[in-house]
Symmetry: C2
Subunit: 228 residues, 2 copies
Amino acid sequence: MAERPLAVVLASGGLDSCVATAIAATDFDLAMLHANYGQRTQARELAAFRALADHFGAGHRLVVDLPYWQQIGGSSLTDPTLPVPQDLPEQGRVPSTYVPFRNANLLAIAVAWAESLGAAAVFIGAHASDSPYPDCRPAFFAAFRRVIALGTRPESRLRLETPLIHCTKAEIVRRGIALNAPLALTWSCYQGQELACGRCHSCRLRLQAFAAAGQPDPLPYAVPVSGQ
Amino acid sequence: MAERPLAVVLASGGLDSCVATAIAATDFDLAMLHANYGQRTQARELAAFRALADHFGAGHRLVVDLPYWQQIGGSSLTDPTLPVPQDLPEQGRVPSTYVPFRNANLLAIAVAWAESLGAAAVFIGAHASDSPYPDCRPAFFAAFRRVIALGTRPESRLRLETPLIHCTKAEIVRRGIALNAPLALTWSCYQGQELACGRCHSCRLRLQAFAAAGQPDPLPYAVPVSGQ
């Protein structure tokens, strides 16, 4: 088999990045990158990342600790004194779970690692369709592509791939199932510990997506959820 | 005195960021940000940062540890097994001291902190004139401004200021002297420990700049240098 190019994949351990990893794995060898930034379910997300990296047989793995994100604050996802909202976010409003400029920070680390490894691409599983976060929009990633082109060595020619950017969450679930992605290993909840809470807006979006895709969510929940 | 707006300043402890801080201090209250990324002279740079933050009376200070930059590697500045070049870099070539995508990483942290603090601006002392690094060019910063505008909350309206971008190093020295910036507290050397080496290309650029500005460098050097 011919040697395949390498891609760095940002892998939170969640549903979207799992499907993005499965897409990347069809053409690339994998370098999987995970960040601990003091998010509430950090240990659980890291466990999901490790299970996914094992499943995909990633040849390169990097877990970065970003403890300063707790000092930076400004988000209910990293500040334990702020409550995590249970309702779906209002249209046109950035919710308190927004972590300031998170995707720019994660992409900057991914691009640095990719440039050092000589990788051909960076993958991120972000999608704009139901996301209230400014750093999940196609225009944000288009602008970041220009920063990559201008801010790296000319010979790096690194591509930024956002294969799910125009998908709905239900389409992501369907695509994951079609690719045989290990969705049972993923973790989406903003709040739970042993079991996903089923109530935070990340759990609700996930459950709505499985329902819309007509598939049961393989993850166990702390409360009874529809479709299980 | 009316309350002044807040600016986050990226402060390495070097000459350029010292002058950028002095410029920011004329209009803004200061939030000074420093990164330990495993650079060879990390302890010395941090000491310079602290002395500068004390001098400027910065009301907010954040020192972030980025130990994963040693895992990312790819630079003679962070990899002790690679030699630091002593010659000035060749025209049109990116030298081995380039740290992959460093400025994008530092700006991403600065913008996140600025957004959380409600700051009005981020200052960076980069300049393009004699820099061989791709992430020091005006076009890179212009592209990053667009990423900031698109990737932060719409109400943040954060400005990225690069007041030295078109200055030569000699002009930066002159500007620092005109602003009474504490240049004696700064550190530029890539290699030295107690005293600056006077031989690495950062020391050489600094010494050339003081010579061109017709001013003695107040810093002591490990070897005799012209103009002292």
